[in-house]
Amino acid sequence: MPRKLIAVVAAVVLGSAAAHAHAFLDHASPRVGSAVRAAPREVTLWFSQKLEPSFSSAQVRDSAGARVDQGARADGMVLHVPVKSLPPGTYKVHWRVLSVDTHATEGNFSFRVGE
């Protein structure tokens, strides 16, 4: 009985190897919660799954809530968000993406420019 159970669980887990899952934010540049000296030209987000470009985007806003991004472009598992020239301050990145298997995820984080 235990061997059959293990076999069933293994089949279920291994049988799903071709499936895709939710797209989680793997890492970002600037790094989540970090402070950078030089203003970045682009915020780049790396995800754990491929993204649906039409339904994946991000916005960058300054501490006053004004948008400082210039749109976003998804390329595979990466979301590129070019930004305007950023003066020293705190910026918030809001992202919403759809992975290719249609699971939606979202999140937000801050980074700081300057000391």
Binding site: L5, V8, V9, V12, V13, G15, S16, A19, H20, A21, H22, F24, L25, H27, A28, R31, V32, G33, S34, S48, Q49, E52, S54, F55, S56, S57, A58, Q59, T90, H94, W95, R96, V97, L98, V100, D101, T102, H103, A104, T105, E106, G107, N108, F109, S110
Partner: protein, 320 residues
């Protein structure tokens, strides 16, 4: 003529080809609430726990070892059913004044009917209502399965603290869940035991700290990948007799379960200690472990989606 038909059909074709947006296991905004081992999470989902293994002294008849499984299926986007079954092995305590030997068998089959009442993404809040039915006489009497059924209207909520201002720092990685139910047995008197069958308040919750949330939404500390998938958690569950308890003590029983859950893309693994809150709740520390599968991620186009209805079409992020 043909081109006019094509032009007329294009919007429908585009709609048909548009990917549908799946809301799956317990995501609420930026927050992921894992399937908890002791109390239920506040979301309907397509998922399966197989197995859940428990070693506990919480059974008054002696030490108890369980192997359990449950299968949750969304019927519609917001309505789901869970079927759960537990095989149990009970060993009387060494100093028990009993002549009986160890007993094993299935406990009563349990079914939960649950409805997702509300999800508030910006505030990471989820609210679930349900009815849990333990079906009488579906288990083995020798391990304590009752011949009567127990109906338990239940409410579950979950709340993440990610909506706090950035100044709160790592506190924003915390989340809580809570569960409260009222057990209504279908009989009021146990003729075999000669005792009243009480109605109980069953309640509990969890306090969890999400390392994935910390890394993705607050601060990326550059920790090892394994650590970034952990959710340290403390769960608690209690039962208090509140009615029809003549002749029985009005003692609250329960356990506090500290542990950790590792969250992957397709499954999670959790392990917790089981600490009784008083002698009536058990005499030793136990343990529970669980392998939990996210069927919606594993099989997104088949058993991982609702049986009826279609998922809402995705919207452009931020209304772009």
């Amino acid at each position: 003529m043909f081109s006019r038909i094509i032009c007329a059909a294009l919007p429908g074709l585009a709609l048909a080809l548009m990917p549908l947006q799946a809301e799956a296991h317990c995501f609420v905004g930026a927050r992921f609430l894992p399937a908890t081992l002791t109390v239920d999470d506040p979301c309907v989902a397509d998922e399966m726990s197989l197995p859940t293994v428990l070693f506990s002294s919480a059974n008054p008849s002696g030490r108890e070892n369980d192997v359990a499984g449950d299968f949750s299926k969304r019927i519609t986007e917001n309505f789901g059913i869970t079927v759960a079954s537990t095989w149990t092995f009970v060993r009387p305590p060494a100093n028990a004044d009993t002549l009986g030997t160890s007993a094993s068998g299935f406990m009563n089959l349990t079914t939960a009917f649950q409805y997702q009442v509300f999800k508030d993404a910006p505030h990471e809040f989820a609210w679930l209502m349900g009815v849990v039915v333990e079906w009488g006489s579906t288990g083995a009497a020798g391990v304590g399965a009752s011949p009567w059924s127990v109906i338990t209207p239940t409410m579950n909520i979950g709340k993440g603290f990610g909506d706090l201002p950035d100044d709160f720092g790592v506190i924003r990685a915390f989340a809580v869940t809570a569960q409260a139910g009222y057990q209504i047995p279908t009989t009021s008197f146990d003729l075999v035991q000669g005792a009243a069958v009480p109605q109980n308040m069953v309640y509990g919750g969890s306090l969890q700290f999400s390392m994935p949330y910390l890394k993705s939404n607050i601060i990326d500390l550059g920790l090892p990948d394994f650590i970034n998938h952990l959710i340290p958690i403390v769960e608690a569950q209690f039962s208090t007799p509140v009615a029809n308890n003549e002749g029985n003590p009005f003692i609250t029983t329960g356990t506090i379960n500290p542990g950790v859950i590792w969250v992957g893309d397709y499954f999670q693994v959790g392990i917790e200690a089981i600490i009784p809150i008083n002698r009536a709740s058990g005499t030793n520390v136990g343990a529970i472990a669980q392998l939990h599968l996210y069927l919606d991620d594993m099989f997104p186009t088949t058993i991982g989606r609702p049986l009826l209805g279609s998922a809402p079409a995705p919207t452009k992020p931020f209304g772009d």
